[in-house]
């Protein structure tokens, strides 16, 4: 039924993830960022939440629960509130599992899902973004050409999370102008994983360039088989997920700046007593809520089985714009201190830039 408040179960999920995040990354996010690494046990503990496999049928190693886009965005917001790099890394197998679960053939499910729905975290990923000006996941430059019983993929990908560890990845490529996803094993000779990328944000998240050169895959590894998959819906689901993460990053910045400003005294008074600071915080408060509401709207429509092209697109666009604004305010409110890496707001600011630029770093 229509409503704006969380159910008991949803509150529980949110609380549980939030508790886990607090224990796991809240204190170490800075260190992880500086070290450019997320410790394996941190990822493993997050994996044990089971969020990525909850809707996978039990026979394939999942929990057989109903698909819930709303719960997914609740989880993603909390994870990203802790740290965006962590959120992407810990859920990256979903980028592989989710499309196979929802759009794969029976054989694909049987063959691939059990590999990545185990008790221990096993990396799988998605190669979607492309490293050229005007990149657009809806008009891919990477191509897949039919050749007998296989497809030959050519193209370059970037920002592929965990590509170095992933046993398999989904590669987005166009077949005669029609967007598709292909299951590619890491040991495919046509696949070269490049140097680890150095990015503006998410230092702790290992991402890679990936080259596909005459990379041949069996026709059975085209997602959805001969019919292909609903690539558009897949992109829409990742857009909703990006918006949910943006709500987490923006909220983190807002809350930190708010507490700081309450305690920071200049000219004899806490700086929050000045409207120019207080009003920025007010704006941050409702923009965080707006980002979340936009994500919720799209997720609700997804849950209802409606066409989400508009709502998912607007949600991500809004989230990209407003997460940038909110995290910018977060730095500004803290002045010079906001510019220093000891404080998290500069990291939120860097990470937020990724929301509009990157596609498909998470999925609901």
């Amino acid at each position: 039924m229509f409503g704006f408040s969380m159910s008991k179960e949803q509150k529980m999920v949110s609380r549980e993830v939030s508790k886990l995040v607090k224990g796991l990354v809240s204190d170490s996010a800075h260190e992880m960022d500086e070290n450019g690494e997320i410790p394996g046990d941190v990822i493993q503990k997050a994996w044990e939440l089971g969020a990525s496999v909850s809707s996978v049928p039990e026979e394939f190693g999942g929990h057989g629960m109903e698909d819930s886009p709303i719960e997914s965005i609740i989880v993603l917001e909390e994870l990203a509130y802790g740290d965006m790099a962590f959120a992407v890394a810990a859920t990256s197998p979903s980028l592989f599992i989710n499309p196979i679960r929802t759009m794969g053939t029976e054989d694909q499910k049987k063959k691939y899902l059990p590999l990545y729905c185990k008790e221990t975290f096993n990396a799988a990923t998605l190669a979607l973004n492309e490293p050229h000006f005007g990149a657009d996941v809806m008009s891919l430059k990477t191509t897949a050409a039919r050749n007998g019983k296989s497809y030959v993929i050519n193209g370059s990908k970037c920002f592929v999370p965990l590509a170095d560890q992933a046993g398999h990845m989904l590669v987005a490529a166009s077949v005669d102008g029609e967007n598709n996803l292909f299951i590619v094993a890491r040991d495919n000779p046509g696949l070269t994983i490049g140097e680890r990328e150095k990015n503006l944000g998410c230092y702790a998240l290992p991402t890679f360039e990936v080259e596909l050169k005459d990379c041949s895959v069996d026709e059975n590894d085209r997602l959805g088989g001969s019919e292909g998959c609903d690539y558009t819906l897949f992109i829409q689901k990742t857009r909703v997920a990006m918006a949910a993460m943006a709500a987490g990053i923006a909220r983190a910045s807002y809350e930190f700046a708010k507490e700081y400003a309450k305690g920071r005294v200049q000219f004899g008074e806490p700086i929050v007593n000045r409207q120019s600071v207080a009003f920025m915080l007010a704006e941050m408060a409702y923009e965080v809520d707006s980002i979340r509401l936009m994500a919720q709207k799209a997720a609700s429509e997804l849950a209802a089985g409606k066409d989400v092209s508009r709502s998912s697109y607007l949600a991500k666009m809004y989230a990209g714009e407003m997460a940038m604004k909110v995290t910018d305010f977060g730095v500004q409110i803290m002045g010079g201190h906001g510019y220093i890496r000891e404080y998290p707001v500069e990291r939120y600011y860097r990470n937020a830039r990724g929301i509009s630029i990157l596609e498909g770093m998470a999925i609901v």
Binding site: A285, Q296, S309
Partner: protein, 400 residues
């Protein structure tokens, strides 16, 4: 459970109201923008409808809007109102403000009047007179006075910018009771037109919402019955007492003004979309927003902001229906919608070019109309002040 997919019931309601707005308000929008202050007779048919605000309650409980949880979704009173207001303002905001018996005073009366007052004034058109020449945002500083003299209150003062000043039957006038200090001295009184000493001084000429009759009242030793104190004398036992009670109605009326901003902005966006499509620009919500034309990108962002405005508004209204404290969310909706409604209507005019500047079309009117939504019922700044005090837990002395 979070589920904000628009229910079919609301979609149906929107469609019905949209037809009404399209058929009855749009066609006369320009006419009454030009015939400033002239009463739109065409609106008489709405007199008995409660398009805006609550119907006067009979025995108190009838207006309890909390949806019963019988598994079936019911559109609560406040949510229903903001949905209606958006559609009507899509038709025309100034005409919505001119609907008979749907003044702001009506909302206050519906919320806090006594049985006897409901009987006497429930079916009257009521305006709300708070603002004074030297007291706008700081409504606690009003100087109009009320003094009890036997069985009558004697009112003195000047009230400006009163919506429906000309057309209303009664005004809910805020005044300070003589001899009492502080904000608890402020009470509201129901003053009937025709009472000696109560005079409509003049009507204003405005930037927008010109069909709405905004005017000034002067109260000069105006005597009204003792029983016209809104909410009655025995207000102590009520939780919605006096000043606080009326302030509380802002939690319902602010989302309503936010919904007005949504309606006007949507009108502008819809018109812009129509013209874009006529020009062959395809709107498809898929390409990277940085790869589309500047017009399209601006358009998408306006649509996203409109959606956010609406969601904040619906949330505030839904919370009121579910008896959740919503002061913060009400102000959030108005802060966002007031500001972005203004920006959207400006931008639509810009994108429309000549069609946005010409009075042949309504876009220029929407830009003028929209601006008021960031001013009345508390300016944008005042909404930010309320939000900031709320989230920072600061008193009005700490954050001025």
């Amino acid at each position: 459970m979070i589920n904000i997919d628009t229910p079919e019931k609301i979609d149906k309601m929107k469609n019905g109201l949209n037809n009404l707005a399209k058929g009855m308000l749009r066609p006369i929008a320009r006419k009454y923008d030009e015939a400033e202050h002239e009463y739109p007779q065409e609106l008489e048919v709405f007199r008995s409808m409660s398009v805006m605000g609550k119907k006067p309650k009979k025995n108190g409980d009838e207006s309890k809007a909390k949806p019963v949880d019988d598994g079936e979704f019911k559109v609560g009173q406040n949510l229903g109102t903001v949905v209606s207001v958006e559609e009507m303002c899509w038709g025309d905001a100034a005409l919505l403000l001119s609907l008979p018996n749907a003044g702001l005073g009506n909302a206050a009366i519906a919320a806090v009047a006594t049985e006897e007052q409901l009987e006497r004034f429930g079916s009257k058109w009521a305006s709300m007179a708070i603002t004074e020449p030297s007291s706008g945002s700081d409504s606690g500083s009003i100087q109009a006075s009320a003094e009890l003299d036997g069985e009558e209150w004697v009112l003195n003062g000047e009230k400006i910018f009163v919506t429906c000043a000309d057309r209303c039957d009664v005004a809910v006038v805020w005044a300070r009771v003589k001899g009492v200090e502080g904000s608890s001295a402020i009470k509201s009184f129901i003053v009937e037109k025709g009472t000696p000493g109560f005079k409509l001084e003049h009507l204003e000429h405005k930037l927008g919402i010109r069909a709405s009759d905004t005017g000034t009242f002067v109260l000069n030793n105006c005597r009204i019955p003792k029983t016209n104190l809104l909410g009655g004398d025995s207000e102590k036992k009520k939780k919605t007492e006096g000043f606080k009670g009326v302030m509380k109605t802002f939690d319902n009326t602010r989302p309503m003004v936010a919904a007005m901003a949504v309606g006007v902005a949507r009108a502008a966006i819809d018109f812009t979309r129509e013209k874009m499509e006529e020009a062959g620009i395809k709107i498809d919500y898929s390409a990277n927003p940085n790869n589309v034309s500047s017009v399209l990108k601006e358009f998408y962002m306006m649509e996203a902001n409109l959606e956010a405005m609406r969601l904040l508004t619906w949330r505030a209204a839904w919370m009121a229906d579910n008896e959740e404290e919503n002061t913060l969310e009400a102000s959030m909706s108005k802060a966002k919608a007031g500001r972005y409604g203004t920006l959207i209507t400006q931008k639509c005019c810009e994108l429309l070019g000549p069609m946005g500047y010409s009075r042949k079309y309504l876009a220029e009117k929407w830009m003028r109309d929209s601006k008021i939504m960031d001013i009345f019922e508390g300016t944008g700044q005042i909404q930010h002040l309320i939000i900031a005090r709320n989230i920072l837990k600061l008193t009005r002395n700490e954050l001025k």
